[in-house]
Symmetry: C3
Subunit: 261 residues, 3 copies
Amino acid sequence: MFEAKMLQSSVLKKIIESLKDLFADANFDCSSSGITLQDMDSSHVALCYLKLRSDEEGFEDYRCDRNITLGVNLGLMSKILKCAGNDDVVTLRAEDEPNILTFIFDSKNSERVSKYDIKLMEIDSELLGIPDTDYSCVVKMPSHEFQRICSNLSQLGDSVTIDCHKEGVDFKVAGEQGSGAIKLKQTTSVDKEEDQVTVQLNEPVTQSFALKFLCAFTKATSLSDTVNLSLTQDTPVVVEYPIAQHGYLRFYLAPKIEEEN
Amino acid sequence: MFEAKMLQSSVLKKIIESLKDLFADANFDCSSSGITLQDMDSSHVALCYLKLRSDEEGFEDYRCDRNITLGVNLGLMSKILKCAGNDDVVTLRAEDEPNILTFIFDSKNSERVSKYDIKLMEIDSELLGIPDTDYSCVVKMPSHEFQRICSNLSQLGDSVTIDCHKEGVDFKVAGEQGSGAIKLKQTTSVDKEEDQVTVQLNEPVTQSFALKFLCAFTKATSLSDTVNLSLTQDTPVVVEYPIAQHGYLRFYLAPKIEEEN
Amino acid sequence: MFEAKMLQSSVLKKIIESLKDLFADANFDCSSSGITLQDMDSSHVALCYLKLRSDEEGFEDYRCDRNITLGVNLGLMSKILKCAGNDDVVTLRAEDEPNILTFIFDSKNSERVSKYDIKLMEIDSELLGIPDTDYSCVVKMPSHEFQRICSNLSQLGDSVTIDCHKEGVDFKVAGEQGSGAIKLKQTTSVDKEEDQVTVQLNEPVTQSFALKFLCAFTKATSLSDTVNLSLTQDTPVVVEYPIAQHGYLRFYLAPKIEEEN
């Protein structure tokens, strides 16, 4: 028996909304320590890794008697979650050898109970070991600022060059009609912590990435006030959205190898 | 001479918006007792019946010297009504043997007066006698809740089974990808009357209906805080939206005869 | 060297949004007295004329060493300006013989600086002399009211007849499905000046204009609370949007010569 109860359906909604456009189907791997999901986009360029820890406060109840894998179409899961009110308590439930995943949505006053069953899928996937390396540079910035930058620069070109140095971080694009550069300075004194830009720098890094994927990752913006970009030369960037009281959602994207920048 | 003056254009706007997608053209039957409209959708499955009583407070003035029928394209009427500000006073006017219906919109300060004339149509229609039967079950619930249920369940299948029993009312759908069930309990103590769910039950009823039509009916949600569903086995459901200070808008939909549920 | 600094990017954004659909490319003519732009739509029916005076308060800094013409694709300029926050300070910069126009956006706290370069174009254009005539009639009215009237009437027909007389101004349309007329009275006592309708009348004027263009002009509505319509019989109407602390944006449209009205 697997049963996970979350006090608010909104977190799960946002996670699935962030993923469903890049990743059609996904395996939720459930164990006593929590739920993880690892998936690759269809072009095998981007990877996501979700971790929701069972011992965090986001789960009101969590029980997983044996390890199970729930293969789900994320588009369908998104539809089902849209049937939950934002304040509904959501419970996920499956048998030990499941072919169905059950969603139960309880309204606060418990005068409306909704129950949805969806059929599970067999999804082939090879889990990649993701080494927990030290990165040359970790940029922490407001998530909406990162979203804006990706969205703005994608109007002028396909790839962005991220340049981390000790004063801050620069984002640059060059296209046929023009070019753009956005420079963020490390903030020293900002009232709210989530508005800060900080750069932890061991070594400067300059790398280019496909804006199409970074823009897709920023669908996770509503999950977190801040985003962490971890960069090392010639290594995939990690775009991490912390999920309060649950864990995190990470995206990995390989750099572009380009001569012209 | 027919002349009807309503203090707010918004009620008439909402009525026409509720109807125009299912019913292309309609006859407004005007008499000294008020305005009625009965229409069938093009597939002859759903029926609507509108009643605006002349003696209710919603009309500031009402005059109808002899019975007339105004055949109107509802899409055009919707366009015209969008030209009225929400607070404009709206007057409908027609001659005794009319080929034109006139809309007059007066702004509150009367510094803007708009006048629109539209051509009337000959619309064939046979008025059906709708017997005023006693229903086995009448459910009263918040209109936005009914809208949400229809919208949610329509994602999973084409028809909903409504099951009225003494504890409350259940809405169920079964589709290829999964199934859903929403259970509403009768509310006992809710602060606001319009948030209550009540079930008057003479006899339990279980019937299936096409969600496409129920979803179309819920376009009338903004007309009323509550909706009444009246059900009897093997009889069309009545979906009634009371219109404050005017009357009501009712939709009728025949049940689906299905083996599989 | 040309450099113009505006305290808010929003005014420039709104100007370009107003123009970009009717006018694909445009020359910004910059001189020490300010920036002007004159352009004709592709069908040679409508003309726009923008004037931003260098000595108005809207420019924090303005410098133009020699007259230059900046040929710009307005769609691209719109994209670039969307990259500016509404409160960003925007600086336009070009060399004396430029092939690039630079946009610099500084956030208030100056912790984000964005710089965009776009390539300039050679745009053929013949400047028309626009005589500064006296008009028979000048109507001043709320810009949103003019927008609403154009939008409403365009649902019923292609051209509007504007009829200025000493009591006010009438807008009329006649189409296949019906006809409409909106009458505005001169307001005598309105609390807010921008809500007033005033008609300065030397001579009554009645003329018809293509609603398609008037509707396009009303994209400038957000630039100004009021709009001025200047009319003389058999002469293009001038639709002027004053731009506070900068100058104005004017549109010219030739009347329709029609028998049937």
